[in-house]
Assembly symmetry: C2
Homo-oligomer: 238 residues x 2
Amino acid sequence: MPLPRPAIVLLSGGMDSATCLAIAKADGFVPHALSFRYGQRHAIELEAAAAVATAGGAVEHRVVDLDLRAFGGSALTADLAVPKDRTPEAIGSGVPITYVPARNTIFLSYALAWAEVLDCHDLFIGVNALDYSGYPDCRPEFIVAFQEMARLGTTLDTLTVHTPLAALTKRGIVERGLALGVDFALTRTCYDPAPSGAACGHCDACMLRLKGFREMGLEDPAPYVNGERYGEELSRGR
Amino acid sequence: MPLPRPAIVLLSGGMDSATCLAIAKADGFVPHALSFRYGQRHAIELEAAAAVATAGGAVEHRVVDLDLRAFGGSALTADLAVPKDRTPEAIGSGVPITYVPARNTIFLSYALAWAEVLDCHDLFIGVNALDYSGYPDCRPEFIVAFQEMARLGTTLDTLTVHTPLAALTKRGIVERGLALGVDFALTRTCYDPAPSGAACGHCDACMLRLKGFREMGLEDPAPYVNGERYGEELSRGR
């Protein structure tokens, strides 16, 4: 029987990374969860990340401070308006204003540093099919290039960046997560939450998440502003 | 006449990056200097970086806070002893304890984020021949892989990581820097400086730096502990 192997799982507190953590665990890895406090407007996600890490069986959860606001350039880290009520087609076209320059490169680089200290050869990141078109740092070619760069730039002779959600739709992620026992009520995805932590229900992240639950015929268990149940409402309205 | 192009120059405050900045400027780029406060024991280098940025004609100088101590694993960021009085051969063999895991990957990733915001397609980093053997993230193959990863992971369609010191020895760097008017008295290289900022004269970085000056028949103008002039002393002693 092989020894359990450590894996570093990037954990944002959203539904994708929560599912990614569950998959790493189901695949037999010992998950070390890594989150970032990067000046995001939706800092509520870090509380979600801590809850998800515990529920998902991570052996430890570290939060690294970094300041992506130093360079600006994104609605998530600067005072720019978060787009609302966009269609899936609009969300999927062009680079969205919520794109944070080189964010996944920076996140993966920190994960790589920790991997090298732990002598760990596996990273998990929850990029998925719906992210590809707009975010260049979610593309499979980018992930492959990162692996090669990491192998050459560290003392690790191999590194695998696992992207188990790469080919999944949001519906597929909900389905896979539920099958693995992910408690989606703990997860937070919204780009523009209320001070209470309730999701807005209208930003790109909410729109895609709600579509995923709706297509499964389910209600999203996470809280939305005014106690509305957008999954249900949208399901009725379609 | 081509318009001046911006370039981001990683600036540590040491002799290599100071020379790298001078080369970027001499090549016609408009240099934006980037330094990091990463929990290094030798924080004096950030004061040096600011002085070097001004003297070297950088149009701006940003210092990004990051905490590489979060993961440990290096004598530069943890409470591990810095090796002293090692020979060039010993310095060149194996991965030194002063190696910071994935450091250049993280530094270059931040530079990449800034490049994307500035729509800048050129980065300069002062890695050089003497660093190769011990530091995996100084190898040319790593730099090439980083460029490819950066092109795929950002909205920039091209990115060139310039390593103008790659083929130079420390002696060659001193020679090139002096030809371009670099004031080496402003630069700080030591891994283990005194509280005054004076260099120890015995760590790997001091040993290589002093060798460079000695081979040029010059005295290092930077301050050393006890006011000693190690360049001169070593020169006499060889």
